[in-house]
C-alpha cells in the first residue's frame, strides 16, 4: 500500500494532534498516524498541568477532560515538613488534573475537525530519504506494510523518538538525563484533594514522588527515579511499593491502574529540524527537566511546527533553512527555561535529605506567591546562599 500527503505526523499524542490541527487549518493535506489502537491509551502520564498556556495554543477548557481542579501544590520534605503554595489565595490560576485519555482524544478530534486524517494501529517502521531530505516513512498499518510519501514529516513519536534516529539525528540520552517512572492510580486513600503533592528526597533518588488527585479519595501516586541512580532491575516499582506501604494514608487504598514509563530530563536537542522534517514535544526532548512535565511544551511546539509546515508548503520550500522558523519559534519561547531547569536539576540531584528538610522549612517561612521552579529557586538562592552556592548563576 502506498499513499501521499503534504504533512505526515507520526504520533497521536497532544504534540502530534496540535501539529496536525494547525497544519490542516492552514489548508495542508495532513495524515496523522498512531501506533496504538486508541488515541490517549495506554496512559503514560501523571496528568497534572497548569492552566496558563492553554489559551496560547487555542485549547478551550472542556469539563469532559478535566478530572479535577486543584488550588495549589504541597511540597513535602524527607522528614515530613511541608510547604504549601496556594495559587487560589494568591489570585493565580489553579492547576488541572486531566483525564489524559479524553484530553488526547479531544486534541485529535480538533485535528480531525480541521481536516486531518487519522490512522490508528499504524506504526512507522523506518524513514525514507532522498539524499539528505526526508521524503516519507515506511509503516505498518494493521500489520499491512505501507509507505507514505510526505512533503514534510513531523516526528511526534514521544520519548522513543525513533523517527529522528532513523533519519540520522542523534537523540541519544545519558543515564543522568533519563527518569524512569511507575505509577498507580490508588482509590480509597486519605488525601488533601485540593493539592497536588510532591515528595522530594531519597524516597525517589534524583526525582520525586507525586500525588495528583483525580477525585476526593483517588489519586495518581507515582514516582520517577533518575536512571543513573538505579542499581537493580525492577527497582522503580519497588521504591513506589515501599513508599505506599510506609504511608498510613494509603493503608486502605487499592490500585485501579498501574503504569510505567520513562521521560527525558535532558536539555533540548541542538537541532530539531532537517530537510523535510521537524521534531516536536518529547521527541525533541522538550521536557521540563525538573518536573518531568511535557504536555504544554508538546502542544506549543506542535502548534509552531504545524504552522511552519503549512507556510513551507505554500512557499514550496521545506528545506532545513526554511524550517529554521520553527526552530526559532520554540527556542524563543522555551529554550532558556529548559536549559536553566536542566542546570538546576544537575544541582538538585546532589542535595541530601537533610538539606531538603532545610530548604522546605525555609520555603515555608519565606512563602512563594506563585508556584514555579523559578520562584522556588529564587527563594532558595536568597535564603540559603551557602547551601546552594551553585544556584547563583541560574537565577
Amino acid at each position: 500500500m502506498r499513499r501521499e500527503c503534504d504533512v505526515l505526523v507520526v504520533g497521536g499524542g497532544p504534540g502530534g494532534s496540535l501539529a496536525a490541527r494547525y497544519a490542516a487549518e492552514a489548508g495542508a493535506d495532513v495524515l496523522m498516524i498512531e501506533k496504538r489502537p486508541e488515541i490517549g491509551a495506554p496512559l503514560r502520564c501523571a496528568e497534572g498541568i497548569s492552566r496558563a498556556w492553554l489559551d496560547e495554543v487555542g485549547i478551550a477548557v472542556d469539563r469532559k477532560w478535566v478530572a479535577k481542579t486543584v488550588d495549589g501544590a504541597k511540597l513535602v520534605s524527607p522528614s515530613g515538613k511541608t510547604f504549601y503554595v496556594d495559587e487560589k489565595m494568591a489570585g493565580n490560576e489553579v492547576g488541572i488534573v486531566l483525564e489524559r485519555h479524553l484530553f488526547d482524544k479531544a486534541m485529535a478530534a480538533s485535528a480531525a475537525r480541521a481536516g486531518a486524517e487519522i490512522m490508528l494501529k499504524t506504526s512507522a517502521t523506518g524513514v525514507v530519504k532522498e539524499g539528505e531530505k526526508v521524503v516519507g516513512v515506511t509503516a505498518s498499518s494493521f500489520g499491512e506494510p505501507m509507505s507514505i510519501d510526505a512533503k514534510c514529516v513531523i516526528a511526534a513519536d514521544g520519548y522513543e523518538s525513533q523517527v529522528a534516529r532513523w533519519a540520522g539525528m542523534d537523540t541519544k540520552l545519558k543515564m543522568n538525563d533519563i527518569t524512569t517512572c511507575f505509577q498507580y492510580r490508588l482509590t480509597g486513600i486519605d488525601i488533601e484533594h485540593m493539592y497536588c503533592e510532591f515528595h522530594i528526597g531519597t524516597a525517589a533518588p534524583g526525582g520525586y514522588v507525586w500525588l495528583f488527585p483525580k477525585d476526593e479519595d483517588t489519586a495518581n501516586v507515582g514516582l520517577g527515579i533518575l536512571a543513573s541512580k538505579l542499581n537493580d532491575p525492577g527497582e522503580v516499582k519497588g521504591y513506589l511499593d515501599s513508599f505506599i506501604k510506609k504511608n498510613e494514608r494509603f493503608a486502605k487504598g487499592q490500585p485501579v491502574e498501574a503504569i510505567a514509563g520513562a521521560v527525558s530530563v535532558s536539555p533540548p536537542l541542538d537541532e530539531t529540524t532537517m530537510d523535510g522534517m521537524m521534531l516536536v514535544g518529547d521527541a525533541a526532548r522538550l521536557i521540563d527537566p525538573i518536573t518531568g512535565g511535557g504536555i504544554a511544551h508538546a502542544c506549543l511546539s506542535g502548534m509552531y511546527a504545524g504552522k511552519v509546515a503549512a507556510k513551507g508548503l505554500e512557499a514550496n520550500d521545506l528545506s532545513k533553512d526554511f524550517l529554521q522558523e520553527y526552530e526559532t519559534l520554540w527556542r524563543d519561547r522555551l529554550e532558556n527555561k529548559l536549559w536553566r531547569n536542566w542546570m538546576a536539576k544537575e544541582k538538585l540531584i546532589t542535595i541530601t535529605d537533610e538539606q531538603f528538610d532545610v530548604i522546605i522549612e525555609t520555603l515555608d517561612e519565606a512563602g512563594v506567591d506563585k508556584m514555579s521552579v523559578y520562584n522556588l529557586l529564587k527563594v532558595i538562592k536568597e535564603r540559603l546562599p551557602d547551601l546552594v552556592k551553585e544556584f547563583e548563576d541560574l537565577i
Binding site: 501506533k35 496504538r36 489502537p37 495506554p42 503514560r44 494501529k121 506504526s123 517502521t125 505498518s140 514521544g158 520519548y159 522513543e160 523518538s161 525513533q162 534516529r165 532513523w166 541519544k172 540520552l173 543515564m175 533519563i178 524512569t180 517512572c181 511507575f182 536512571a227 538505579l230 542499581n231 537493580d232 532491575p233 525492577g234 527497582e235 522503580v236 516499582k237 498501574a258 503504569i259 510505567a260 514509563g261 520513562a262 527525558s264
Partner: protein, 57 residues
C-alpha cells in the same frame, strides 16, 4: 535479550533509552534488532525488571 512477557508493561522506557536504537515496540512486546550490543542499559532501567541479558553458551 530475554523479555519476561508476564512483567512487561509495554511502556517503551527501553526503546527511548537504547543508545543503539535497537529496540522496537509494537503494541505488544519489545523486539531487539541486530544493532543490540548487549550494553545492559535497558535491563537496568526497565521499571519492572522485565528484561534480562541472555547468557551466551
Amino acid at each position: 535479550m530475554i523479555v519476561t512477557i508476564e512483567k512487561c508493561m509495554h511502556c517503551g522506557a527501553c526503546v527511548g533509552s537504547c543508545p543503539q536504537n535497537a529496540i522496537y515496540l509494537n503494541d505488544f512486546l519489545p523486539t531487539f534488532g541486530e544493532e543490540c550490543n548487549r550494553c545492559g542499559r535497558c535491563v537496568k532501567l526497565c521499571p519492572v525488571g522485565a528484561l534480562e541479558l541472555e547468557v551466551k553458551e
